[in-house]
């Protein structure tokens, strides 16, 4: 069942429109006809008056000289006026002096003429002689010519009105069609996402509510998959929104290919999508989730970039994880959060504990917002040593947060939150300032070769303030740039290579050194490394952990070191904990290391 917004076009209005147009035309027609009738009648009356005055001059003389025959002869002239039915001259005392009656049987006027005053017309005027009325002349005329003209006029006007009505109807029909199209467009816009053409949040909510109600009645089940793109923020921030939009379109198109016709795909906003699978239980939901993850794992060619996004999916089951759209979506959201925490590109079902976790996370976020101003953040330093001599060559500055409510919170927990909430910019500036100030102090104490490594989050690259911030901090703390090393992760290099490389070059020009952190687990390619102004690779602890016993890891570490050598990069092994590891690393040519073997991260003192 596809989402279907309901549209009511109100056909009743059409009929009303038609009626009102017809009524308006009818009234106009009636007015025209009655006005024309009045005009014609007046004309007729004038003609009658003229005819009467023609005979009256002669007749007056006949009257005063009592020559009735002469008057009769005068009236007989009316036989040349076929409309005149009769004429009479009546003396003031009421006696009939002379009269005329049209010869031949005059046809009666049609039945409708009488009530409309169109049967006959009577005209009367006095016969004056020296301003004295000597008699009255009265004429009765048949209105037949008038009727004929009016009938003709009515035919023309009705024809015109009918034509006008037809034209108006045609125009109105066109207008209505245009309005209907507009309405449809508006309904579509209100219910569908303009970018991807998928149902939007509003339609998702109404449609899902409908589907869930139906499913509940039938005792069925459903699964709501809630997912977002793992690296969408990075793409959006680094390549800009237009590219982000293109990526969303590509993703939506890809999703459209892989989901079943019966599944309801919606875009709630940003990079958040939902998929409602009716009738799905756990196993089917997993199958669909895997399918989606597979489909989105491939790189998307967008605007000349190959963008790997990947998706994490939270799954909530109906009715157990929520019996309303709202609750189901919240459960799926919690599951999504868990999936992301579990390492992305994966799915998680909602569980009751997730509610608690979600609440915890809210508390964490709230606490984190005030951590800096309340002075709950501090920096600790882990030594980086020369594996040959055991001498300290520098320190990696690491951030610690001790919350009064939550106690010590792991950076693995709070740094991603700081990144998501944007607090990372303030935190990063704080870390840089603290580390630089501390190093200045060490320099002042006589440890002239110490270098401090500060982690830069991928997020800090976006916003263009990083270079200024570093330059400013070096100035304020009076630290020579050669004593500062900035560690960036591979993630930061993704996507907007051009922009990031520009920033790295500017940082390099400042005189600070640059390291690639956690090398080996990400996507950095050799060709990329060659183009970057990087001086140092830090081998991820996961490769160091099992050497020298794990042959694969040993081979990888050996290869990384060989490659770094060839590119003229120095290498730092992270997570060195045993003598064996130190020995192996030294043997394969790794000159520096960092780990519990040499010292835990500790406050500067």
């Amino acid at each position: 069942m596809k989402p279907q917004p309901t549209v009511d076009h109100g056909r009743g209005w059409d009929r009303l429109n038609w009626l009102s147009t017809a009524l308006a035309l009818g009234i106009a027609t009636l007015l025209l006809i009655s006005s024309e009738t009045a005009t014609l009648r007046e004309d007729f009356q004038h003609r009658l008056a003229t005819q009467a005055s023609l005979v009256s001059a002669n007749s007056a003389a006949a009257v005063v000289f009592k020559d009735a025959q002469s008057a009769q002869d005068n009236l007989a002239a009316f036989q040349h006026a076929p409309d005149i039915l009769s004429a009479r001259i009546v003396l003031p005392d009421g006696t009939l002096f002379a009269s005329y009656q049209k010869a031949g049987a005059s046809e009666d006027a049609p039945f409708w003429a009488g009530p409309l005053g169109l049967d006959r017309i009577e005209y009367q005027r006095p016969l004056d002689l020296e301003d004295v009325a000597v008699a009255d002349i009265s004429l009765v005329a048949d209105l037949e010519p008038l009727r004929a003209r009016i009938l003709g006029f009515i035919a023309v006007v009705l024809g015109a009105a009918l034509l006008a009505l037809l034209i108006a109807q045609a125009l109105m029909a066109r207008l209505r069609r245009a309005m209907r199209r507009n309405e449809d467009d508006m309904v579509h816009m209100a219910h569908y996402d303009a970018l991807t053409g998928l149902p939007n949040r509003a339609l998702f909510e109404t449609h899902t509510a409908r589907v869930l109600a139906q499913t509940a009645r039938g005792g069925g089940c459903a699964a709501l998959l809630f997912f977002d793109l793992d690296n969408f923020k990075v793409v959006n921030d680094s390549l800009g929104h237009p590219v982000g939009d293109l990526l969303l379109k590509a993703v939506a198109a890809q999703l459209g290919q892989v989901v079943r016709q019966s599944d309801d795909l919606s875009r709630l906003g940003g990079d958040e999508f939902t998929l409602l699978v009716v009738g799905a239980e756990r196993q089917q939901a997993i199958a669909v989730a895997e399918h989606v993850i597979q489909a989105l794992h491939q790189p998307f060619p967008v605007d000349g970039h190959e963008l790997s996004v990947g998706a994490s999916i939270g799954i909530a089951l109906f009715p157990e994880d929520g019996d309303s759209v709202d609750k189901l979506l919240r459960s799926a959201d919690s599951a999504l959060y868990a999936a992301k925490a579990a390492g992305k590109h994966t799915w998680r079902f909602f569980s009751a504990e997730m509610d608690q976790q979600a609440r915890d996370r809210l508390a964490l976020e709230a606490g984190l917002r005030h951590a800096l101003e309340r002075g709950e953040l501090r920096m600790v330093y882990q030594p980086i040593v020369d594996l040959g001599t055991g001498r300290h060559t520098g320190f990696e500055a690491l951030m610690r947060w001790t919350s009064p409510e939550l106690g010590d919170v792991s950076p693995a927990v709070f740094i991603p939150i700081a990144e998501e909430t944007g607090l990372i910019h303030a935190f990063g500036a704080f870390a840089l300032r603290e580390a630089c100030a501390q190093t200045r102090t060490w320099l002042d104490e006589g440890r002239i070769d110490v270098v401090v490594s500060v982690n830069i989050s991928a997020r800090q690259f976006y916003g263009r303030t990083l270079v200024d911030s570093v330059r400013q901090t070096l100035l304020e703390t009076q630290l020579p740039p050669s004593h500062l090393d900035l560690e960036i992760t591979e993630t930061a290099l993704m996507g907007a290579e051009r922009e990031v490389i520009d920033i790295l070059n500017e940082l390099h020009d400042l005189g600070v050194s640059l390291s690639l952190d956690d090398f080996g687990i990400g996507y950095a390619s050799l060709s990329q490394l060659k183009r970057l102004p990087i001086q140092k690779l830090k081998i991820d602890r996961s490769f160091v952990m099992d050497i020298p016993h794990d042959h694969d890891d040993a081979a990888i570490v050996t290869a990384i070191i060989g490659m770094a050598d060839a590119l003229g990069l120095s290498v730092v092994a992270e997570g060195v904990e045993t003598q064996d590891q130190q020995a192996f690393l030294t043997a394969v040519g790794c000159r520096r290391g960092q780990g519990y073997l040499f010292g835990k991260p500790e406050p500067a003192e």
Partner: protein
């Protein structure tokens, strides 16, 4: 004696018989109406009134004509005068000649010769020579005969409607 005197007085003062009275009235009306269908040359009538002069011994006729006074002719008020045949008739626009001997009539016609004065005579059935319009009576109807050359000699014009209604017209 007193009775006889009273009877004589009553007889003298008795109005004319009703039929006779009607005849004069009708004739007077015709005379009045004739004036409405005649045209005088410019400049006449003068002095703001239309003068009808009656030359008649018949009191009833004179009386009927005098009652026309006050009517309007061509927009001016009609005044009825009673004149003697020997009087100066130059102020009259219309002269009614009652029954009189030919000599007296001849003198009047001679006096008015060439004057714009409409002469109306009581013809009693025949066209009176030298008189423009001669009245006659048949039953209740008054008819008239017109001597058109006489009219034209006086510089007058009569309406064609009038000519049509005339019993006869001398051309």
């Amino acid at each position: 004696m007193r009775g006889i005197l009273l009877a004589i007085l009553l007889l003298a003062l008795a109005p004319p018989t009703r039929a006779a009275l009607e005849e004069y009235e009708v004739k007077a009306a015709v005379i009045y109406h004739l004036s409405l269908f005649a045209e005088w040359p410019p400049g006449s009538p003068r002095e703001g009134s239309f003068n009808l002069c009656a030359l008649t011994e018949n009191e009833s006729m004179a009386e009927a004509l005098s009652r026309l006074g006050g009517k309007t002719v061509k927009g001016v008020s009609l005044m009825a005068w009673r004149k003697r045949p020997t009087s100066d008739l130059s102020i009259c626009q219309m002269v009614y000649l009652g029954d009189m001997n030919d000599a007296a009539r001849g003198r009047v016609i001679a006096q008015l010769a060439g004057q714009p004065v409409l002469t109306i005579g009581n013809g009693g059935g025949a066209q009176i020579p030298g008189i423009m319009v001669s009245l006659g009576i048949a039953g209740e109807r008054v008819y008239f005969d017109i001597d058109l050359p006489a009219v034209q000699r006086g510089g007058l014009r009569l309406d064609a409607k009038l000519l049509r209604l005339a019993r006869s017209v001398v051309k």
